[in-house]
């Protein structure tokens, strides 16, 4: 199994730089081409697929160890599709906890998808059923990768989320079938991949003082609450850090503003309201 992961990672390395450049060129040169957006999402999430597969496998393995049936494990990955909550359920049940305790832990962990779904709400189209289905592709990684200055790229989210969904469920199925004869993802350092990914996605957002303040406050809240609250609560509480946006807006340097306006025009900008906020901020 170790060989498989390393092989996958190596082939990703070999294929990535050129295709990534092509994607960037295609997106910026021809934003009207319908296919490029989904593919851009798939390519953006490609570096994570080995890790997602490996964690899907370990979920399948741990679920079996916690006496969850094969069918229940596979149904859980298909419906819940959120790693941390699924691992929480398995660890609570595996330690002899009740279904109620497992449910509370998982719902707390997934509560962050409430505000995240609200922020990305205008990405989703069509009737309620279609929105419900498409919204299931919302996970931390697809949300973060499709974020464009607070607006979200529909195709990148659905492309990235869809690829993650396939990887997560395929990994789970392998873990359920193959059992614990496989390598632990921690041995491969894959658990360190996710914080590094989120930091890499955070870095370009830190252009204004308010966003730096929100990030620092969010991290501080999460770290402060980790020892004293159940898992899941620290991250939900950290979303309160975005309330620093209610403080009097500060003006950005002129250069940063021009850059931001340019990027905004490149993205899908359906709301006129978002653009109107910029001159106001500049004048204060």
């Amino acid at each position: 199994m170790r060989g498989l992961f390393l092989h996958t990672a190596a082939s990703v390395v070999a294929s990535m730089p050129k295709s990534a450049q092509r994607t960037v060129a295609a997106v910026s040169a021809a934003p009207a081409q319908p296919a490029s957006g989904y593919r851009a999402g798939v390519r953006a999430v490609l570096p994570l697929i080995p890790a997602v597969l490996a964690f899907g496998v370990s979920f399948g393995v741990l679920a079996q160890a916690a006496d969850m049936s094969a069918a229940a494990s596979i149904v859980m990955s298909a419906t819940t599709f959120a790693g941390s909550a699924q691992f929480a359920v398995v660890s609570v049940l595996g330690a002899g906890g009740t279904a109620a305790a497992a449910i509370v832990a998982a719902v707390l962990l997934n509560a962050r998808y409430g505000p995240m779904g609200l922020a990305a709400a205008d990405v989703f189209k069509g009737g309620p059923l279609r929105r419900i289905l498409e919204a299931q592709l919302l996970v931390d990684e697809s949300w973060a990768l499709s974020n464009r200055d607070g607006r979200f790229d529909r195709r990148v989210m659905l492309g990235a989320g869809g690829f993650l969904y396939v990887g997560w469920n395929a990994g789970t199925a392998v873990g359920v079938v193959a059992g614990d004869s496989l390598a632990d993802p921690a041995t491969l350092g894959l658990d360190a991949a996710f914080p590094a990914l989120f930091l890499a996605l955070l870095a370009p957002l830190l252009r204004s003082r308010t966003s730096v303040a929100a990030a620092l406050l969010g991290a501080a809240i999460a770290l402060a609450l980790t020892p004293i609250t159940p898992a899941g609560v620290p991250v939900i509480a950290a979303t309160a850090a975005c309330l620093v946006g209610l403080a009097r807006p500060r003006s950005l340097p002129a250069g940063a503003q021009a850059g931001e306006a340019g990027r905004r025009q490149g993205g899908q900008s359906r709301h006129a309201g978002g653009h109107e906020t910029r001159p106001q901020e500049a004048s204060t």
């Binding site: 990672a9 990534a20 490609l46 570096p47 890790a51 049936s69 229940a72 149904v75 859980m76 419906t79 819940t80 959120a82 909550a85 699924q86 049940l93 009740t98 497992a102 449910i103 998982a106 719902v107 409430g114 779904g117 609200l118 922020a119 709400a121 205008d122 990405v123 989703f124 929105r131 419900i132 919204a135 299931q136 931390d140 973060a144 607070g150 041995t187 350092g189 360190a192 991949a193 914080p195 590094a196 930091l199 996605l201 955070l202 957002l205 308010t210 929100a214 969010g218 999460a222 770290l223 980790t226 620290p234 991250v235 979303t239 975005c242 946006g245 807006p249 309201g273 109107e276 906020t277």
Partner: protein, 102 residues
């Protein structure tokens, strides 16, 4: 119904509902200006919290382990403007290397 199936079905339905709530209820509506300014800051706040908890939280305690070292190496790669794939690989390789040594 076993405890496992109860948990699987309730958590599955709850997660589907949580994820769909925003897209179904707030879909085409324009958000007021203050709300959109606050929601624009959700990304930095939430990403920073995810970085902090995924690197330093272990159940309900704070720990400094190989993930922290991997994050540090990843941060250096980010400062050197390495592509995302390199950042992720550097972090994973650092953590794996340290674990192999200890």
């Amino acid at each position: 119904m076993t405890a496992a199936w109860t948990a699987v079905l309730v958590v599955g339905l709850a997660t589907i509902a949580i994820k769909a709530a925003g897209p179904v209820l707030a879909g085409e509506r324009e958000l007021p200006l203050g709300a959109s300014r606050v929601l624009n800051l959700l990304a930095p706040a939430l990403l920073a919290a995810l970085v902090a908890t995924q690197a330093f939280a272990s159940d309900e305690s704070l720990v400094l382990d190989e993930r922290g070292a991997g994050l540090l190496a990843g941060a250096v790669a980010i400062l050197l403007r390495a592509p995302l794939l390199v950042v992720v690989l550097v972090a994973a390789a650092t953590a794996a290397g340290l674990r192999a040594m200890t």
